[in-house]
């Protein structure tokens, strides 16, 4: 029997070996802004769990290195990631001197590379398993529940990012809900305006190039400039239009951020609606006309359902983009997770940056997976129906 290497496994094993033995696992700092001291796995963990973690990582790396059954690779990836997630919390407790509230312990480069290496293994297995859309959402839900459980259990409480959180627990959730409201609200507004506009552009050819060009140019204006430019007109509206201020329209804050995100969202929605409607087979339209359907019936009964997956792709682009762009709203007082990112950059407190960045990435990632699954479901349903 010949032993065969897995090509990706070589990369994973090399990364894991470097990260486990040469890179620091955790960083210890006497307070939140001084430079840290590196600690390896054996230094960062108690005498019992340190070697245990190393053993788990070595075995998992070997499973990845050789051509092994998918189930075994799946198990290796999950066990390695679970061990890392559980034990990084122990490192925090172990390294922090008892009763010291200033000391900060954060995961260091070795930890992040290990997470990356084994996530790569897991991603590869999941890609090869070619999961159905529902199964992918299921995996996402299980992963989210596991992380939620770890957070609630308090295992990670001794880590610096959660210390930053516990100092700001109230504002974290307030900014979080602002972030989600901004991203989802502007998407909703863009769909309400963009869909009819897209349909209009599809029907009236002379409008199409003009509208799409204007929307294209809006996309080229840098986000921080667009946010800033909207301050003046909205401030004017708040002063001069009765009732506008009562609705929460103000020069700075959430209103300009909302309008800017809305403007950025329009292009993908309108463009994809136009592309989707243009892609409806002529035969389908002719058949519908032949059956005596009115224009309105044809739009809702034939064209719209057929164009739906393409329109959804536009919505996915917008949602992921909006979740990312909403961080910039913090620059003009619009709130959102960006508040922590920019505060952290200002104070060179990286844990604070992470407190803003990690939830943003997680939200965008979850949104991408869920919408991809929905797009695939609607696309395959359409194929089945037309087959």
């Amino acid at each position: 029997m010949t032993i065969r290497f897995d090509k990706l496994g070589v990369v994973i094993a090399a990364l894991a070996a470097y990260a486990a033995f040469l890179a620091p696992f955790a960083t210890f700092r006497a307070n939140r802004i001084v430079p840290g001291q590196a600690r390896s796995i054996l230094e960062a963990l108690p005498i019992t769990t340190g070697p245990l973690l190393l053993a788990i990582l070595v075995i998992a790396a070997f499973v990845a290195l050789f051509r092994t059954p998918l189930v075994l690779r799946l198990a290796a990836g999950i066990v390695a990631l679970a061990a890392l997630a559980l034990l990084i919390g122990d490192a925090g407790t172990f390294l922090t001197p008892a009763g010291n509230t200033f000391a900060r312990v954060s995961p260091a480069s070795g930890f992040w590379i290990l997470i990356f290496a084994f996530t790569l293994l897991l991603a590869d297995v999941l890609t090869r398993l070619d999961l159905s859309p529902w199964a992918r959402v299921g995996v996402l839900v299980v992963a989210a529940l596991a992380i939620g459980l770890l957070l609630v259990s308090g295992r990670w409480d001794s880590l610096s990012i959660l210390k930053e959180y516990s100092n700001r627990a109230d504002s974290f959730w307030a900014e979080g809900s602002k972030h989600v409201t901004l991203a989802l609200g502007s998407l909703l507004a863009a769909v309400i305006v963009g869909l009819p506009l897209g349909i209009l552009c599809h029907r009236v050819e002379s409008l199409r190039a003009g509208v799409l060009n204007v929307l294209n140019i809006i996309q080229t204006i840098p986000s921080i400039a667009l946010f800033g430019l909207l301050i003046a007109p909205l401030g004017w509206i708040a002063l001069h239009v009765p009732g506008a201020a009562a609705l929460g329209i103000r020069g700075i804050g959430t209103a300009p951020a909302f309008v800017a995100l809305f403007l950025y969202s329009l292009l993908p929605v309108v463009a994809n609606t136009v592309v989707g409607l243009a892609g409806v087979p002529r035969a389908a339209n002719d058949a519908a006309r032949g059956m005596g359907m009115t224009d309105r019936q044809r739009l809702f009964g034939v064209e719209f359902p057929l164009a739906f997956p393409v329109i959804l792709t536009g919505i996915r682009i917008v949602l992921v983009q909006n979740i990312g762009l909403a961080t910039i709203a913090a620059l003009i007082g619009g709130g959102g997770f960006g508040v922590f990112v920019f505060q952290g950059v200002g104070q060179t407190a990286m844990d604070l940056v992470l407190l803003g960045a990690v939830p943003t990435v997680a939200l965008a990632f979850a949104a991408a997976i869920i919408l991809d699954a929905v797009i695939e479901m609607t696309a395959t349903r359409r194929k089945v129906q037309t087959a």
């Binding site: 590869d124 840098p222 986000s223 921080i224 990286m350 991408a368």
Partner: protein, 249 residues
């Protein structure tokens, strides 16, 4: 006559842009009404020309690096030896796109310090994705008969790649580069939140001092650059497609 109009408009935009960044003083009366309390109407903490050139340099370096890496990766995963990585690389590209640029910037700061470097890293990562995706599409959707014919003509793998596959997919790869440049031009402004010297400096100075004129001039220069570069690269792309017998359509 109508065919000349777009060209004329673009020329006018170029002239206007060059005039503005070389002698912004001429435009002061236009921007003055936007300022309050006698604040300066033209950015006065650095020359707009220098900032524009630095901005373009940052985008250029990041895009060149991203193009080299993305095209090399796409070639690797479309060869038989790297085929195993193809599905995974697709998922990774998908995941990579969910990272907001601000987060990448902020997280790069502790590793490389403030200034241009974190901006370059963020632009590089962001530039990779569209180029890689397009290069992959280009290299995997080549007409099978052409590749087969090249093989039948006795071309080696390297010859097929450089003489057939890359030239044929050039228009699509260029499309990816164009997308990536336009995104980078706008994203580079965010780099100024971590002290990179780009046109974002002008916008942020405007946000901090509540000076609408600064925000407007910074934003408009970037937008004009993006529109012009987008148009220029589209023309190059059309030229490449025409040379390849326009099968890219």
């Amino acid at each position: 006559m109508r065919a000349w109009l777009p060209l004329l408009l673009r020329l006018a935009l170029v002239v206007l842009l060059v005039a503005f960044i070389t002698s912004p003083g001429w435009f002061e009366p236009l921007l003055k009404p936007l300022t309050e309390n006698n604040a300066p109407a033209i950015y006065n903490q650095g020359s707009l020309l220098t900032l524009t050139l630095l901005h373009l340099r940052t985008v250029l370096i990041a895009t060149v690096a991203a193009t080299i890496v993305a095209v090399a990766l796409a070639i690797l995963v479309t060869r038989p030896a790297g085929a195993e990585f193809l599905p995974l690389s697709r998922s990774l590209v998908n995941i990579g796109q969910t990272f907001p640029p601000v987060a990448v910037l902020a997280l790069a700061v502790p590793a490389v310090g403030f200034g241009e470097k974190p901006t370059l890293i963020a632009l590089f990562l962001y530039g990779l994705l569209p180029i890689f995706e397009n290069a992959l599409t280009g290299l995997t959707t080549l007409p099978a008969n052409v590749v087969e014919a090249a093989r039948g003509a006795g071309m080696t793998g390297w010859q097929r790649l450089t003489k057939v596959e890359l030239p044929l997919s050039a228009p699509i790869i260029l499309g990816g580069i164009r997308l990536s440049v336009v995104i980078s031009l706008a994203t580079a402004t965010i780099g100024s939140t971590v002290a990179a010297r780009t046109l974002g400096e002008v916008i942020i100075a405007g946000l901090l001092s509540n000076n609408l004129a600064f925000i407007l001039q910074g934003g408009l220069i970037v937008a004009a650059l993006a529109v012009l570069i987008y148009d220029g690269l589209s023309a190059v792309e059309r030229y490449a497609a025409r040379r390849m017998g326009s099968e890219a359509q």
